[in-house]
Amino acid sequence: MHYFWVPFLPMLGIIIPLLTNKFNRSTCALATALLPALALGLILFDLPAVLDGQAFTQSIEWIPLLGLNLSFRLDGLSVLFSLLILGIGLLVILYARYYLSEKDHMGRFYCYLIMFMTAMLGIVMSNNMLQLWFYWELTSISSFLLISFWSHSSDARKGARMALTITGAGGLALLAGIVLLGEVVGSYQLNVVLNSAELVQQHPYYLAILSLFLLGAFTKSAQFPFHFWLPHAMAAPTPVSAYLHSATMVKAGIFLLARFYPVLAGTEVWFVVVSLTGLFTLLLGAYTALFKHDLKGLLAYSTISHLGLIVLLLGLNTELAAIAAVFHIINHAIFKASLFMAAGIIDHESGSRDMRKLNGLWKYMPITATLAMVASASMAGVPLLNGFLSKEMFFTETLDQSILGSLSWLIPVLATIGGAFAVAYSLRFIHDVFFNGEPKGLTKTPHEPPRYMRVPVEILVALCLVVGIFPAYTVGPLLDSASLAVLNHPLPEFSLAIWHGFNIPLLMSGLAIAGGLAIYLNRKPLFRFEGLFPAIDAKIKFEGAIQACVRWAQKVNQTLESGSLQRYAFWLCFFALALIAPPLLDLDTTRGSQAEYPLNGAVAIAAVLLVAGSLATVIWSHYRLIALLMLSLVGLVVSITFAYFSAPDLALTQLSVEIVTVILLLLALYFFPQHTPTSKSRPSHFVRDLAVASLIGCIIGSICFALMTSPLDSISEFFIANAKTGGGGTNVVNVILVDFRGFDTFGEITVLGIAALGIYKLIARMRLSMRTKDHDGRLWATDKYPVLLSVISQSLLPLFLLISAYIFMRGHNLPGGGFIAGLITSIALIQQYLAHGVDWMTKRVSVSYHYFIAIGLVTAAITGLGSWAFGQPFLTSWFDYFSLPWIGKFELTSALVFDLGVYLTVIGATLLILANLGKLTTKERLTVGVR
C-alpha cells in the first residue's frame, strides 16, 4: 500500500516553502502544493479499496519500550479526513497565495501551514495512540505559530497563547488518558484498542480514561466551557481560519471522539456528558454568533455551534446519529471553509470585516456575493444544499432520544431553536453584508478579488450543491466507509435522499427557517437586550487569570526564596537534623563495648581549653581579630590532642595548616570592617539558630561517642599489615596517602590547585583602597619592614628549608611527607613576604606560582602514568632497595616522586593565594602614618 508514505510527504514538504521563498510567489505556492497533491494522489489511489470497506494498517517498531510504533492505518474515517485535510489544504494554499501581502513572509507561512497539515494527517492516519498524541501536540504547536503569524499584533499573540494553553492542557489530559488506556488494554495499537470496548468499559479506570479523553477532545473542538479560545484565534490570517476552523484543528477533537467511538462510547456517562456538552455548545454558539459584528467572529461562533452539533450527534445513543455526525463533519468542512474564504475576500478587497460598515456589497462583488450566499444557505440548512441533508438527519435523530428520561422532548425543541438561530445569523451574514444599503466608512472601494483567489470558493460551493443534490452518488460511499470505521460494525439501513416525505424533521426544518427569519427581523430589540449584558472579553479575562496566577506564584516564590543566606543555611541544617535525629531515638544507648581511655588532668585541661576556645570564637565572632586569636587556641589544642593520641602526622599537618590559615585570614581581614555590625537577627531567629546548631552538635557528638566506643572491623587492618610489604613504607598514614589511596590525594591536590586558581581569578583584577588608620583611629606604624624581623626571617629561611626537606624525605617511613613539607616551605617563603614585602620577593622568585601548581600536578600524574609502561593501572607504586658504598642501603620508591608532586602543588597553591592577596594593595600604598 502507498498510504504509509502519505504523512511523510508533507513532512518533507515543510522546508520546501522556505527554500522556494526567494523565487516568485506563484512558484513558491506551486512548489508547496506539490507534495500535498502527491499525497492526495496516493490517497485517491488507495481509495477504492477503502470504499469497499477494507481497513489497512502498517507498523514499524520505533520505541518499543514506550509502546510507540510508527504505525498508520487507512480506513473509512482516516480516508475521509485525509481527503478533507489535503483537499481543503490545497485550496487554502492557492487562496493564501493571493491573500498574503508582500510584507508577509510567504515561505514561513506555508512552512507552518504544511507543518500543520502534516500533523493533522498524522492524527487521522495514526494506528498507534501515542503516535496519535505525538501529532496531536504538533497541531497545537503549529496552530500556535499560524495564529500568531502576525506576531506584531498583541491580539494575535494573546489569541495564540490562549489557544496553545487550552489545547495544550487538553493535550496533556489526552496523554494521560492514552497512557491509562494503553495500560488497561496492554497495547497502544489502535487495531487492538478499538476492539477492547468490553474490557475498557468494565475497568475501574474507565471513568478516568473517558474524562481525560473528553477533556482532550472538548478543548480542541472548542466545546463549552473551553470554547472561548476559538473566537480569539481569529486573529490569524484568514486562510488559517479557513483551514483550522473548518476542516482541521477543531475537527481533530471531533475526530478523536469518532475514532474512539467504538471503545469509549456506548455507556450512560458518554451519552449524557457528550450530548449535553454538545447541545449546550450548539445553543451558546448559535446565539452568540448572531450578535457578532465581526464577520470572522460570526463565523467563529457559528463554528463552535456546528461543532456542538456534531458532538451532540456523537453523544446521541443511536447509530444513525453517529452517521449523521460523520456526514455533518464533511458538510461543515465544505461550507465553512468557503465562508471563511469569502469573508477573507471581503476583508481583503474592502478593508473591513465589520458588518456595521459592510453593507450593499452585492453591487461591487456580485460573484463573490453569490458564492457566499449559497454557502450561508447551506450553513442555515436550506434544501438542495448539503447542510440541509445532515441537519435533517440531525433533527430526525433528536426525536428518537431517551437519554434525558421524561425530559428528552427538550432535545428536539432545543435543536430547532438552535437551527433557528443558525438561520438568523446566516441571514445576517447575507443581508447585512451584501444588501442593507451602502457601505459606511470603508477605506477602499470594494471590488472582486483576483480570478484565482475565488477559485477555491467556487470549487467548495460547487461541492455544496453537488452533495446537496446528489448525496448518494457523491459522498454516499465515503460516508458508508467512514461510518463503518466509527461504528466498528456493519451499518444500519439509512437513505441519503433529499426528500423523505412530509415528516416531523421537515417540519422542524421549516420551523427553524421561519423562526430564523422572525429572529432576524426582530433583531433590533434582541441586540438591545444583548447590550444590557456587560461585554466580556475572554482574552482579557484569561490573560488576567494567568497574570493573577503569576502574581500569586511570585508571592510564594518570594516568601520561599527570601534571599537570606541565614535562612537557607537554617533550612539546610534543620533538614539535616530532621534526617539524622529520628534513627537515634530508636537507639537504646550510645555506649558501645569498647573500653574508654582513662581521664587525666592534662586531657581534662586540654578539653576545657578546647571548649573555651571554641565558645570564645563563637562569642567574639563579631570581633574578627579576637575570634581569629581564639581560633589559634583551638587549633593549637587540637594539634596537641593529635600528638597525645599518637597521630603525629595529623598533629604536624594541623599545625602547619593552622599557621597558613591565620596568615590567610589576617590578609583578608584587613579588607573587612574590623567588627561585624552586631547581630541584626531577630531574637526568635537567634534562638532558632542556636537550637539547631546545638542540636546538631549534640547529635554529631553522640554519634561520635557511639562510634568510638564500638569495636570496628575495618579495612585499616589491611593497610597496617601491607604498608611495608606492599607499599614499601613503615608510616602507614603516608603509605595510605600516596599509595593505597593515592588517587584521593591526587584529587585533593587538584582541589588545592584549583582553589588557588579560583582565588587568583577572584582577586586578580581587584584593587582595594587602603585605610589610613586602624580601627581604633591610630595611625599605622611607619616602619614597613622592621629590621629585626627581616634579619631573623632571612636567617631562618635555610633552617626552614632544611626541616622541610627532612620532613619530606622521611615521610614514607616516619611522620611527615610532601604535604607537610610543602606547607613548611610555603610558610618559610611567606615569612619572607611578611618581612621584606612583595617587591623584594618578586625580584628573587621570578617564577609565577601557578607554574608550581602545574609542575606539581604533572609530576604526580606522570608518576601515576608511569605504571602504564609496566602494564599496571594508574598510580601503581614501585619500590626497591639499593645499596651504595658509603651511603649504605636505601630505598627508592615511585611514591616519593608522587609526594614531590604533592609538595610542589602545595607550595604553588599556598603562595599563589597568599602572595596575590598581599599584592592587592601593593601599588596603592600611600605614605601613611608619616606624621
Binding site: L65, E137, L138, L175, V179, Y568, M708, S710, L757
Partner: protein
C-alpha cells in the same frame, strides 16, 4: 594491559592533563592556543566517552583498580552503563560549553579553560568512582572548580550569588564528611560494593547509626541536586553566572541525583535488609514538593535564565520521582529523562546568553525591548527548546515524560505523580509561551548595535539541540540502552562480582 584497558580512567585523566597543561607558560597566556587545545581535548573526550559507552554495552561493567589495589582496600573506578552514559553526556556538554565560550566569553576572567577542564574532571570522577571517600574528593574537585567558574566575568550579583552557593556547599561538604565518618564507623569500609554487602549484616545498634549516616548523605546529595528545601541557592546562582557556566552546571544537579540513585536507590535499596529503602519515606514528599515549588517558581520567573533555572528544579523533582518509584521501568524512564533534561536546559542557558547579549539593557528579562538582530534564528532555537522542555513532541521531552507516566503503576501514586508532572508541563507551557512572545515579539524598534552571536556559538547550541530530535528518532535503541543501565543499576554490584570483573 594495553592502552584501551585504561579507557575507564580517560574521562578523568584527559581533562586533568589538559587543565594542567593549560597552566604552563606559552599556552597559559595565549587565549587562541587555549581554545584550540581545549576544543581538541573535548573532542577527544567525546571520542573516549563514546568508546567507553560501546565497550560497556558490548562487554559489560568495567572496573579499574587504581594503584592495582583490589577493592575494598584500594579505590576502584566502576563504569557501568549508567556511568558511561553520564560520562558521554558530560563530554558532549563540555564540548558545547567550550565551543560557546571560545567565542569570547572566556576572555572575561583568568583560567577559564583550565577550570572548565577541572570541572569536567570532577564531574566525571564523581560518576565513575566506586568509593565513597573518593566520591567526596571528586565532589570537592567539582565544587571548588564550580566556585571559581561561577564568578567568571565578575560583577556584584554574580559574586553575591556565589557566596550563597559557596557557603551552603561548605556546610554540605562538612556534613558529607560527618556522614562518611559515620558510615565508615559502622561499616568499616568505603567501597560502595563492599558497603552494600555489609549493610544487611549490621547489628542493632549499628543499624540506627548507619541509618543516620545514610540519611545525612541524603541531605548532602540533596543540596547538590537542589531538591526541596535545599534548592534555594540554585535559581540565583544559575541565573547570575555566565551562560556557558550555567549550561555546564545543568549537569551538576544531576551529579547529586546520580549519587542519590546509587546510594539511596541501590545501596540502601531493596537489598539492604533492615535498612531497605530508608530514604523513600523522605523522598516521596520531597520529590512531589520539588516539582510543585519548581513549577510555581517557573511561573513566577521574570527572566529567561531564572525560568530555566527553575525548570532545572522541576526536572530534579521529576527525577526524584523516578528514583522513588524504585523499579527498573522507572529508572529507565528516569535515565532517559535525565539525559534529555540536561541537554535541553544546558542549551537553553546557552541560548539565554545569546539573547541577553542581543537585547542590551533589557537582557533576558520579559519586558519590551528593541528587537534582536538575529531574532529569527534565536526564535527558532527557542521554540525548539521550549517544545523540548515542556515535553511536547516531536522532541525528546515527550518520550521521557510518557515513559515516566507509564512507570507509575500504583493508582494512588498515579493521581499525585501524573497530575504534578502534567501540571508542571502545562505551567512550563504557559510560562515559556509567555516568555517567547515577550522576548521575540513584544518589541519596539530595531537594535542594530548589539553583538551578533558568532557561528561557533550557534554551533555549540546546534550540537545540543540536534541531540533532542535524535533522541526521539533513535529512541528505540536509546531507551533500550537506558533500560540496560537501569537493570545494571538496580541489580547492584556485590564485592565479589566487582572483583571478578576487575580480573
Amino acid at each position: 594491559m594495553s592502552l584501551l584497558d585504561h579507557l575507564v580512567i580517560f574521562p578523568i585523566l584527559l581533562p586533568f592533563f589538559a587543565g594542567v597543561i593549560l597552566l604552563f607558560p606559552s599556552i597559559s597566556s595565549a587565549l587562541n592556543k587555549q581554545r584550540v587545545f581545549t576544543i581538541a581535548t573535548s573532542v577527544l573526550m567525546v571520542i573516549a566517552a563514546a568508546m567507553l559507552l560501546i565497550k560497556v554495552q558490548s562487554t559489560g561493567i568495567q572496573v579499574y583498580a587504581l594503584g592495582n589495589w583490589s577493592a575494598p582496600f584500594g579505590i576502584v573506578l566502576v563504569a557501568d552503563a549508567f556511568s558511561a552514559l553520564m560520562i558521554a553526556l558530560s563530554a558532549i556538554l563540555g564540548l558545547a560549553v567550550i565551543l560557546y565560550a571560545s567565542a569570547g566569553e572566556d576572555k572575561n576572567g583568568a583560567f577559564f579553560h583550565p577550570l572548565i577542564m577541572f570541572q569536567l574532571m570532577g564531574i566525571n570522577g564523581a560518576f565513575l568512582t566506586g568509593d565513597a571517600f573518593n566520591l567526596f574528593v571528586f565532589f570537592e574537585v567539582l565544587l571548588i572548580a564550580s566556585y571559581s567558574l561561577m564568578i567568571h566575568g565578575g560583577g556584584k550579583q554574580r559574586v553575591q550569588a556565589n557566596i550563597h552557593y559557596v557557603f551552603l556547599n561548605l556546610i554540605g561538604s562538612s556534613l558529607f564528611l560527618f556522614a562518611l565518618g559515620t558510615l565508615y564507623g559502622t561499616l568499616g569500609t568505603l567501597n560502595f560494593a563492599d558497603m552494600a554487602d555489609k549493610i544487611p549484616h549490621l547489628s542493632n545498634n549499628e543499624l540506627m547509626i548507619t541509618k543516620s549516616g545514610a540519611l545525612l548523605l541524603l541531605a548532602v546529595f540533596g543540596l547538590k541536586a537542589a531538591m526541596l528545601p535545599l534548592h534555594f541557592w540554585l535559581p540565583k546562582a544559575y541565573a547570575n553566572t555566565s551562560a556557558p557556566v550555567a549550561a555546564l552546571f545543568a549537569i551538576m544537579t544531576k551529579v547529586g541525583i546520580y549519587s542519590i540513585w546509587r546510594v539511596h536507590g541501590v545501596m540502601f535499596g531493596n537489598q539492604a535488609g533492615e535498612l531497605a529503602n530508608i530514604a523513600l519515606p523522605w523522598l516521596w514528599p520531597i520529590a512531589l514538593a520539588t516539582i510543585a515549588i519548581g513549577a510555581i517558581s517557573v511561573l513566577a520567573s521574570q527572566s529567561l535564565r531564572v525560568l530555566c533555572s527553575n525548570l532545572v528544579i522541576v526536572s530534579v523533582g521529576t527525577l526524584l520521582v523516578t528514583i522513588t518509584l524504585n523499579s527498573v521501568q522507572a529508572s529507565t524512564a528516569g535515565i532517559y529523562y535525565l539525559v534529555h533534561s540536561t541537554i535541553a536546559c544546558a542549551a537553553m542557558f546557552l541560548l539565554a546568553g545569546l539573547i541577553q547579549q542581543q537585547r542590551g539593557k533589557a537582557e533576558d528579562r520579559f519586558v519590551t525591548a528593541r528587537a534582536m538582530p538575529q531574532s529569527a534564528k534565536l526564535g527558532f532555537v527557542f521554540a525548539l527548546l521550549a517544545i523540548a522542555l515542556i515535553g511536547m513532541p516531536p522532541l525528546s521531552g515527550f518520550v521521557g515524560k510518557a515513559l515516566i507516566l507509564q512507570s507509575v503503576t500504583d493508582t494512588k501514586q498515579m493521581a499525585w505523580i501524573w497530575s504534578l508532572i502534567l501540571g508542571a508541563g502545562l505551567i512550563s507551557l504557559i510560562a515559556l509561551s509567555r516568555a517567547g512572545t515577550s522576548l521575540f515579539w513584544r518589541t519596539s524598534g530595531e537594535n542594530t548595535t548589539a553583538l551578533q552571536g558568532s557561528p561557533i556559538q550557534y554551533l555549540a547550541i546546534g550540537i545540543l539541540v540536534a541531540l533532542l530530535p535524535l533522541m526521539v528518532i533513535f529512541g528505540g535503541s536509546i531507551s533500550d540502552y537506558a533500560q540496560l543501565a537501569a537493570e545494571q543499576l538496580n541489580a547492584g554490584l556485590s564485592l565479589q562480582q566487582l572483583n571478578e570483573v576487575a580480573k
